[in-house]
């Protein structure tokens, strides 16, 4: 067995990774209804209702107003901060007809073209992006 660890230290390290939202238990709890809303878009009839009136569809779910607005804005970084998980949020951008590459590029603050060019050139280097405090 791996020796017991300090859960608080384990979790604190996740906040030290630049530009990354780890889907911790706290986020899973905060985003439960948000993620289940997204999951509902797996059904064609729900997608039709969603497309017909996004606001009305969201009002059928126990989301906070902040979460609803972030969904309407398709602000994925905000959604991750509010407990969304990317695999669930994928149901929203897939319904919009977006690929993972398109949706992911919006979170990186780059244009789709720049993001694609970065990936073709080997991706984003981890150098300097491993730790906020230690900067390596």
């Amino acid at each position: 067995m791996t020796p017991p660890r300090d859960i608080h230290q384990y979790l604190a390290e996740f906040d030290d990774i630049p530009g990354t939202r780890v889907f911790t238990a706290a986020r899973a709890r905060q985003g439960y209804h948000l993620n289940q809303f997204a999951m509902s878009l797996m059904k064609a009839e729900n997608r039709e209702r969603w497309k017909a009136n996004e606001r009305a569809y969201l009002d059928g779910w126990k989301l906070t107003e902040e979460q609803k607005q972030a969904v309407l804005d398709r602000d994925y970084n905000r959604l991750l901060d509010l407990g969304g998980n990317i695999y669930f949020m994928a149901k929203v951008f897939s319904t919009d007809g977006q690929s993972f590459l398109q949706a992911v590029s919006t979170m990186s603050g780059m244009s789709l073209e720049d993001y694609q060019a970065m990936m073709l050139a080997g991706g984003r280097s981890p150098t300097g992006l491993r730790s906020l405090k230690d900067k390596y």
Binding site: M1, T2, Y10, E13, F14, I17, P18, G19, T20, R21, V22, F23, T24, A25, A28, Y32, N35, Q36, A38, M39, L41, M42, Y76, N77, L80, N85, I86, Y87, F88, A90, K91, S94, T95, S99, F100, L101, V104, S105, M107, S108, G109, Y115, M118, M119, L120, G122, G123, R124, S125, P126, L129, R130, S131
Partner: protein, 286 residues
Amino acid sequence: MARITAGVATSHIPALGVATDLGKTEEAYWKPAFAGYEWTKAWEAEQKPDVVILVYNDHASAFDMRVIPTFAIGCAEEFQPADEGWGPRKVPVVHGHPDLAWHIAQSLILDEFDMTIINEMDVDHGLTVPLSMMFGQPDQWPAKVIPIAVNVVTYPPPSGNRCWALGEAIARAVASFPEDLNVQVWGTGGMSHQLQGPRAGLINTEWDNRFLDRLEGNTDALRHIPHIEYLRETGSEGIEMVMWLVMRGALGRTTRALHRHYHVPASNTAVGHIVLEPITELGDTE
């Protein structure tokens, strides 16, 4: 007796499935990713495994946030390709091996792994893309498949050490199954990729290749990599590599690599893939 003859690890990138299904594998962008699998396809056609124990993660298809099993085993007769929002992949139905699966489930629980037993579920790209990469596009899959689903989405996922130990326990379970079966264990997911946040697109070729290096031979250093290292070095979704360790643990103390392939990028990710065979050494009792 059933016996584990080989282990395979591969990324399970959904875009590879899409490229396969739409006949795009010869396009300039995709060709280098698929070329690395040609050797393995030919090798699998010779090996003809009876059963593949396929370690993967569900991507909010069969499971949602209502139930989050850390380790689950599929014991059904068959598993339908999941509808991930744009209709199910047009790939064959996946046939299980319920007798071996139930045998493994019992054995693992007695070995103190708290398995969730699944008798009905659909399987998403996490499971069907590796089948396409290894077997191509047959009318039916040439092997029975036992899905082992691992939670690598909601934290904490299991430790690498726990995954390795699960693999060791799977090997004991297979070895005690009386039927003569050629069994392979596949670990899927990874390698470096981050699909979220401003750091999206992270790729760490050097780290990935060191990970591949250490799947070969007799070191068990990989089992001790903490979650934070996967996250820092390989991106938030690189954590999926813990699933490769279930495969590696199942192969015993020493392995030899038969084939190895690495390519960047395929969509947002690094494609890694390795074929290993277990080496029985003098003094091994199993």
